[in-house]
Amino acid sequence: MRTDEVDPELDEGEVLTLHARLGLTDDEYQQIIDRLGREPSRSELAMYSVMWSEHCSYKSSRVHLSRFPTEAPWVVVGPGENAGVVDVGEGWLAALRIESHNHPSFVEPHQGAATGVGGIIRDIFTMGARPIALWDSLRFGPLDQPRNRYLFTGVVGGIAAYGNAVGVPTVGGELAFAEHYSDNPLVNVMCLGLLRAEDLVLATSGPPGTIAVLLGAPTGRDGIGGASVLASASFDETSLEKRPSVQVGDPFAEKKLIEACLELYRKKLVVGVQDLGAAGLSCAVSEPVSRSGHGITVDLDRVPTREPDMTPPELLMSESQERMMAFVHPDRVDEVIEVARRWETEASVVGEITGSGNVVVSLGGEVVVDIPAQSLTTEAPRYHRPLGEPGWMEDLWSNTVKFVAQPAIATALLQLLAEPELGSKAWIYEQYDHMLFLNTVVGPGHDATLLRLKGTDRGLALSTDGNGRVCYLDPRRGGARLVWEAALNVAMVGAEPLAVVDNLNFGNPEKPEVMWQFRETVEGISEACEALGVPVVGGNVSFYNETDGLDIYPSPVIGMLGLVEELVWPPPRLDRAETEMAVYLVGNEWAPNLAGSAFEKATFGHVGGRPTGPDRAMGRATVVSARRLAEARIPVLHDVSMGGLGLALAEICIASGVGATVAYSDWRFLFSEDPHRFLAVAPAAADDTITAVCSEVGVPFLRIGTMGGDAIVFDRGGVRAAVDLTLATDTWRTSLTEHLRN
């Protein structure tokens, strides 16, 4: 055993603090010594540091994540694998996962976002699925700061460059701005894949004798320590100096890797696969064997390198992109190499599964690592971090805006339309190929994306949703509301909610307040999922989203998959409203609450009060009635979410090119974002249908107005506030691009 491998950056005196420099605490270091009964070698320490990092081990979050409901008859693979897999009928399975690439995107927005896309795609094809669509959920600081514009345009450019070239369309997403994200943008990407039931592949190693074949790009010093350094520690001035570890994405290499892997699966040439993402080779060799209860020998001399003189710790920690580990029966290795060659992809035999239970790594014939596989994975530390309700919650809740008079409705609506987070996102999604594979029935710009399930009459509807303000004001209610909002979004195109993936973006978990926010959010998401009967099948946790001590808003993002059993043509769309159609409001009739609303933020710069919580019965009733109205071919369905009823109506008018007049009693009703409400627009002849469906389901509904004219008009007892449709349209169209000029 060598314990003195060369690390050019360190001299002897520094060895003692090496673990600290790698992000391990003294306690964790002691645990390693206790477990091994000796000091670890540098290479071993390198492996522990990345495998025990927050990003890989979920050490702060794991105890809470077990709260999620994860079971349902249609769940084939739940959380824990690279992606969740659910049965969507007629022999098809859907693989779904969401991942963050927040810190790398701050360091280098274009490459950070690009490699985030590459990473989540690998999680999907690792399962045997062909990746067919991406969604991006993005959060930045306000665009009036040049650095935020740089980050925003860089991230969108990176997603476009990678997603388009790798041949996976980006068909939807989400965008929000708040000061809290200025130095800590959030870049979450969700990927959907499809596979036949018989083609499912898992990340297991197979029995002893199985050969480990490394596929894809050569290994360089990219992202050394990315998992431990970038994703698991807080940000401050010095982080900009951590730049040498930036990874560069190669979508062409990934495209070839996808096709090579899918061909390997089709030919049944692999026992299991594991992608190389965070923690690189360390993770790819230890997780699969730990799942199967075996060990592995790895020969680092066989790992193709891009740069000379790479040390064992570097080889083990490198996060070079576009690599996969395949576990192959010894008789099939030649065939695997042949398939890889055809796709111009390197394939190298780097190891063999053993019965020992240990990960044994050697270089130049010398063993540099010999440790139990489980010690890297299942035995990683797990923390019950202290949590406590922040002292500021009571103050936040009582901090409400006191309105002395009704604000100018028209002005307020125009102000909302001009908000870059509420206006048109066309500038983003027109840079993304969102049509490839000819699946996109309802594309970006609607509540959910609707994809056909090729070869069947079925459709898949997906939506990503987040709301930092509401989650900040009440993380439990906020988390739950996101699940309900996402469910209602997929119901808007006629889908029944089927499965959830979540991306939990939070601040520093070592602060009790942040852990409290985290626990509350998990609780809220869990309660809503239970009420809805929808399991959580996967997710991702990103902690340490703080800069100079300021934590981001607690920012969970919910990805919802819904199923349409039989597509109707044409589906409900925002642009199908016509003059003389009636406008209905379906859902709760609660006293309106403006806490956390875009209205209060846009008009008063205010974020305070306590948002209304969700209601199970009303939640279910709105989701069910929306789905049935879609089946009944109601032309327009649109949920009321950020910006309230006023904005929802304006969006329909703008998309359809026709004005509307609606009546209201309390102006707050126009801007409140209380959950469980949607608009339906339908010809007079459909009045009976709407009445019948809503009565049967038991959901309140009200005819509030009529489409027509060239203005959006709000009428209270004859007093009218009108916004010219052309002005509204122009304001909405340019809300984002106006902020990007110079």
Binding site: V107, R243, G249, D250, F252, E307, S320, Q321
Partner: protein
């Protein structure tokens, strides 16, 4: 100004073109590197001031310091 990729940063384009050249029979090619060159026509008589301004432009906009290094040359 010549803008070069930092040596430790991966260059997928260079690697792909190297392969293409090898496929075409140019076996003597060991590495291929892609860099950028930006030529500015600047209205400024003082060469040293022109250089300072150009360096400033590189730092502020033209060069991505995470991935690239650069050199500036001034011609009259």
């Amino acid at each position: 100004m010549a803008i070069t990729r930092r040596p430790e940063i991966a260059d997928p384009e260079g690697a792909t073109v190297k392969k293409a050249l090898t496929d075409l029979g140019y076996n003597e090619v060991r590495t291929v590197r892609f860099d950028r060159a930006i030529t500015l026509d600047i209205e400024e008589d003082d060469a040293s001031r022109a250089r300072d301004r150009a360096v400033e432009m590189c730092n502020r906009l033209l060069v991505n310091p995470v991935l690239e290094d650069y050199t500036v040359e001034v011609e009259a």
